[in-house]
């Protein structure tokens, strides 16, 4: 049993690992266990009834559907943004690069009220679309907008370092062999970026699914239509319906764990496949 760790001359292993495990257990694991334990107290029958309640299912569909669309849009534009930032030189590039992280730093409630003001029928963007009969704020479309804001840095910051490491000689070789630029980009450059793009997509998606603050102000929160799953948890809690809140939380947690697993596998796969690059 002694050889579960390699010997080292450095001190403090027991102390730091012990503290890490204690803190992790108290702050993260015990509370999560309480959630799982409480959900087992509900019983299978009522749990399924709560989990497959029409309103819950639709809320989950709104959360996952909007997150999926937002992550897909972020992948398309995020890759373009990352490419422009890595490959091109133009005035203001540094500033543009710095501002990518704003969604990380800006509190979600601030983003939420700002987006709601911007996309409301009288807002700067909303009034452009209002005459066309397109309502953005207070509809599911508004949720997608908020989730694009929240997820953008995940895609750009995952793809950017991989792009910076790209071997340009490969592109030159493709060009000398007669490939035009589009062929080089789609058949030489893009395949090497696929793992990073998938990881960025998964990270943006995972974050968007659980997002609350930036969404609730712009969503309109109409039950069955534009109500996200985290909001339904809050509503159930306010109704003192703890079983209802717990069952939704459990489903979301299970899906999050699967997502985390997928992200880790993607990263392992990309490391194995492209470690020689």
């Amino acid at each position: 049993m002694k050889n579960w760790r390699q010997p080292s001359v450095l001190p403090g292993f027991g102390l730091t690992l012990g503290y890490t495990l204690l803190y992790l257990t108290l702050i993260i694991l015990v509370p999560l266990a309480a959630l799982v334990w409480r959900s087992t107290g509900i019983g299978w029958g009522p749990f399924w009834a709560l989990a497959f309640d029409q309103r819950t299912l639709l809320a989950l569909r709104v959360s996952f559907g909007a997150a999926l669309i937002a992550a897909a849009i972020n992948v398309i534009f995020g890759v373009v943004v990352a490419w422009v930032l890595v490959r091109y030189q133009f005035p203001g590039r540094r500033l543009l690069d710095a501002i990518i992280d704003l969604p990380f730093a800006l509190p979600t409630a601030v983003a939420g009220i700002s987006l709601a003001a911007l996309y409301a029928p009288k807002g700067w963007v909303g009034q452009i679309f209002a005459p066309l009969g397109i309502k953005i704020a207070f509809t599911p479309l508004g949720i997608v907008i908020a989730l694009i804001f929240v997820g953008l840095p995940f895609v750009v910051r995952t793809v950017q370092p991989v792009m910076a490491e790209l071997d340009r000689e490969l592109e030159e070789a493709a060009a000398t062999l007669g490939a035009n630029r589009l062929q080089t980009l789609s058949m030489v450059v893009l395949p090497t970026l696929v793992p990073a793009i998938l990881t960025g997509f998964a990270l943006a998606f995972a974050r968007a699914v659980g997002e609350y603050g930036s969404v609730i102000f712009i969503a309109g929160n109409v039950p069955y239509v534009s109500e996200i799953a985290p909001l339904l948890i809050v509503i159930r809690l306010e109704e003192f319906n703890y079983a209802g809140a717990t069952s939704i939380a459990c489903i979301m947690l299970i899906i999050s764990f699967v997502m985390l697993l997928v992200i880790n596998m993607l990263q392992m796969w990309s490391r194995r496949r492209y470690s020689n690059v």
């Binding site: 890490t20 509370p31 959630l35 534009f77 704003l102 509190p107 003192f240």
Partner: protein, 286 residues
């Protein structure tokens, strides 16, 4: 710039036309998605004039919210700092079985909805829980009070500092520490005079991000707060109340403070990256 200016066209690059198009797409996208919301915060805050703006900060509830936000962050960030350093020391400087699993567990809060992060504490300490009545008989209140809000904030910002330090300390290896120890330094001296100076910029970077999130956290804190005006309202929660009362000028006025915090965080972060990029660790991930 010189590349585009020269007449020679790089065969492994896009034509000038496509460069311009792609750059415009990127600038337009970032302008609409990121810059516009930021500008809106300041525009809405000053739309009713600067009097309305400054009035928002005269209100006792606003002052209480600012104070509570600072208090919560002042407790949560140092606790996560100590944890982050301890976890990074154990994970980065030693080889042991189950390490990958431990790192996955540390990352866990990143993939959990903030609402669930608050909910778990309600289930653990709330009035309906097994602990709730016991705590109540002892006169201890956790949910709908400061301890619950601090716990929820710690949960949400849990991985930030550890996540920053682990790859950095892994990259630096154990050579410096071994040298210090062989020269007779004690464990604490080694940590204090060798390891800490090596990671100080990465540490500061992690603290910055952790603090920004701690002060701005909304969902998790909202669930455990109970929304008692002037008592359990942080700035983001205060913004929500004002907004729902249609007091937009005041809501955006308080929001400008948080937006300024975000901008200062971004500026410091960028300076750290430009000046000490190598010392903050490559392959950083949020």
């Amino acid at each position: 710039m010189s590349e585009t200016a020269s007449r020679y066209r790089d065969p492994a690059g896009e034509t000038a036309f496509w460069r311009v198009i792609l750059t415009l797409i990127a600038v337009a996208f970032l302008g609409i998605v990121v810059v516009l919301p930021l500008v809106t915060v300041f525009y809405e805050a000053f739309r009713k004039g600067s009097d309305a703006f400054f009035e928002a900060f005269q209100e006792p509830d606003a002052i209480a919210a600012i104070r509570l936000t600072l208090t919560v962050a002042a407790i949560a960030v140092p606790l996560n700092l100590v944890f982050g350093v301890a976890a990074a020391w154990a994970v980065a400087k030693f080889e042991f079985r189950g390490k990958t699993f431990l790192v996955t567990l540390i990352d866990l809060p990143f993939s959990i909805s903030p609402v669930i992060s608050g909910l778990v504490y309600v289930l653990l300490f709330g009035a309906q829980s097994y602990l709730g009545p016991i705590l109540k008989s002892q006169g201890i209140q956790i949910i709908f009070a400061l301890p619950g809000m601090v716990l929820a904030t710690i949960f949400v910002t849990f991985p930030f500092i550890a996540r920053e330090l682990i790859p950095l300390m892994e990259e630096q290896g154990t050579g410096d520490e071994e040298a210090a120890l062989s020269l007779g330094a004690s464990g604490w001296q080694t940590f204090w005079y060798v390891t800490l100076p090596n990671v100080k910029w990465g540490l500061l970077y992690g603290v910055l991000l952790c603090n920004a999130r701690a002060m701005g956290e909304f969902g998790a804190v909202s669930v455990v707060s109970g929304h008692v005006r002037g008592l359990t309202e942080t700035m983001p929660l205060h913004i929500e109340i004002l907004y729902n009362e249609y007091n937009f000028a005041a809501a955006f006025a308080v929001a400008t403070l948080l937006a300024l915090l975000a901008l200062v965080t971004l500026a410091l972060k960028t300076i750290l990256e430009l000046r000490y990029g190598d010392e903050i660790a490559a392959g950083r991930k949020h």
